[in-house]
Subunit: 339 residues, 2 copies
């Protein structure tokens, strides 16, 4: 049986091996993903992002547990978690994170958790995350939580893989955090003020609501690879039902408080995405952007085959010695394949 | 007089205009950079990075002031600052930052400060920052401080533009910060524990020293675009004088405490870079990586000219409908220019 077939049959060990293949960017991993691709597109991808110290991991844990054992009589959902961990490959932070999580969710075959250290190139990281999500999607996980630290643009890019993005805040994280909030508000579909039992929660919530009001719906845009797409078309401003108003929720995730309300908003956002056509739009944007990444890598690789390394090193040396500027170097290299 | 000539003559308005051209990626900006490139490579580029709340900006301000008015009888240095601000283009955070800084350094023609909001694509951000640094370098600024929030990989990439990277920590920023430290330690040439008048400074400093010890010199590597270069060659392990041991310093930047020691370590690191050959190595890596970025963009643009948008959209639609997988889509698109 091929790796892809084993994954489709629900073999956890095969899925785990596939994710390792993906992380190492192997030919076997790619072959399996090629076969699995037609089975993707069914999961609800939920990004959970926020600054360090907001308690994202514990919120993600609680959400996963609540989807597994819904308190309200709903049927349990299969949950995948991809946690992008900013620690170094040398420290084993990602592995430690897995172990801490496992205590709560161990032995449940309806949950699959994978942490990934954020090594390697940026494009690589977003692309690896996306491939892992595809593998979990094909393996039948219905809810996939993608957890990232939300201070950098890279993490924002990863969160954008998601259909629904939850931005987590916490009271009293210092003024500089405010600046980050501003940038991150534009991608938030749901805002959660976690650690809501701490002093200052009213201030944090008020600040967030104020910022949401400032970013008036007409001005809110969805940035995507240099293009700026209005989330609402110019003629549709009166058409309130088609607009999403980002809710602000309080949670104390370590005690499970507020989790049901977050789940309810996730479900409501899913409905909104389906009805507004945003689900399809986001799918298309995501797949197109992934295709563009593949294309760039393939073009670079084809070009590299067309030029000798002697020629390349000669041009780089002239550049380093500042005999030529980078654009002249580019000209010299781009003409390499016409000789 | 051309923009480039005006910049070389020390015209601040021209430099300011050039930086705006760079930020907007205009043809005029590029033309000026092409002319200025031969005048670059002289400045000492110093990255200052750290999590939100560590007081990076105030440390950068103090360093700039101290280079301008050295307390120890040295001659003042010309200082440029590029602050990459994670706030949204909509909130004006970057502009506010400029104003706050200006209070301390206003009217000094030997200082030039520019903030930049981190909009647009990632590659774009690092590349814009690099171009701005080149402009300041050509304009004769001898010390260029590049300030970024250090939680994401993007900021790490920006910090890597630098010859010397200072990572700023502060006591009591929560446990999750520890994980980030681990990742960021590998790029730190100098570690600064700022806000050292706060409780917990001993713990923070001890944790940093422990982590530095764990990352034994033999294991410390310089990640660069997928390659991993040992910072010391295998046969040279006994050769202690050629190794850099990252110092850990305490500062209270709001009161100017510890700034002179940071400057001394910066000067010592400059010496080390020159004597070890690392200066040349970092220059080469940086220029080569920038050239590769240019190359990728040029290859993509040349390819786009070779394919009709109808063909492109047809392939994307098949992909979105999952009739084909991304690699099949890539095959179809890559063969487009051979028809």
């Amino acid at each position: 049986m091929s790796l892809a077939e084993a994954v489709l049959e629900g073999n956890r060990l095969a899925l785990s091996r596939l994710l390792t293949h993906i992380e190492n960017d192997t030919a076997d991993g790619r072959a399996a993903l090629e076969k699995l691709f037609s089975q993707t597109g069914r999961a609800h991808l939920i990004g959970v992002t926020g600054a360090p110290g907001t308690g994202k991991s514990s919120l993600v844990n609680q959400l996963a547990m609540s989807y597994r054992k819904p308190p309200d009589g709903e049927s349990p959902r299969r949950v995948g978690v991809v946690a992008v961990d900013p620690s170094s490959p040398f420290t084993g932070g990602a592995i430690l994170g897995d172990r801490v999580r496992m205590r709560d969710l161990a032995g449940d075959s309806g949950v699959f958790i994978r942490s990934m250290a954020s090594r390697g190139s940026l494009g690589g990281l977003a692309s690896t995350t996306s491939s892992m999500v595809q593998a979990l999607d094909a393996a039948g996980y219905e809810i996939i939580l993608i957890e990232t630290v939300g201070a950098g643009q890279a993490e924002v890019d990863i969160a954008r893989l998601a259909h629904t993005t939850i931005v987590v805040e916490a009271p009293g994280l210092g003024d500089e955090i405010q600046a980050i909030k501003a940038g991150i508000l534009e991608i938030a579909d749901i805002l959660v003020v976690n650690k809501a039992d701490r002093p200052g929660v009213e201030n944090t919530e008020r600040a967030l609501r104020n910022m949401l009001q400032l970013s008036h719906p007409v001005q809110r845009v969805f940035h995507h690879h240099g293009r700026m797409l209005p989330t609402t078309e110019p003629g549709k401003l009166e058409d309130e039902p088609s607009m999403w108003h980002t809710p602000v929720l309080r949670t104390v995730s370590t005690e499970g408080i507020g989790i049901t309300a977050v789940k309810a908003e996730i479900a409501r956002h899913f409905q909104y995405l389906q009805e507004s056509g945003d689900w399809q739009r986001r799918e298309r944007d995501r797949l197109e952007s992934e295709l563009n990444d593949l294309l760039q890598a393939a073009l670079l690789s084809r070009w590299r085959d067309s030029i000798t390394s002697e020629r390349y090193l000669r041009v780089v040396s002239s550049l380093v010695e500042r005999q030529i500027n980078p654009w002249r170097a580019l000209d010299l290299l781009m003409n390499g394949d016409q000789q």
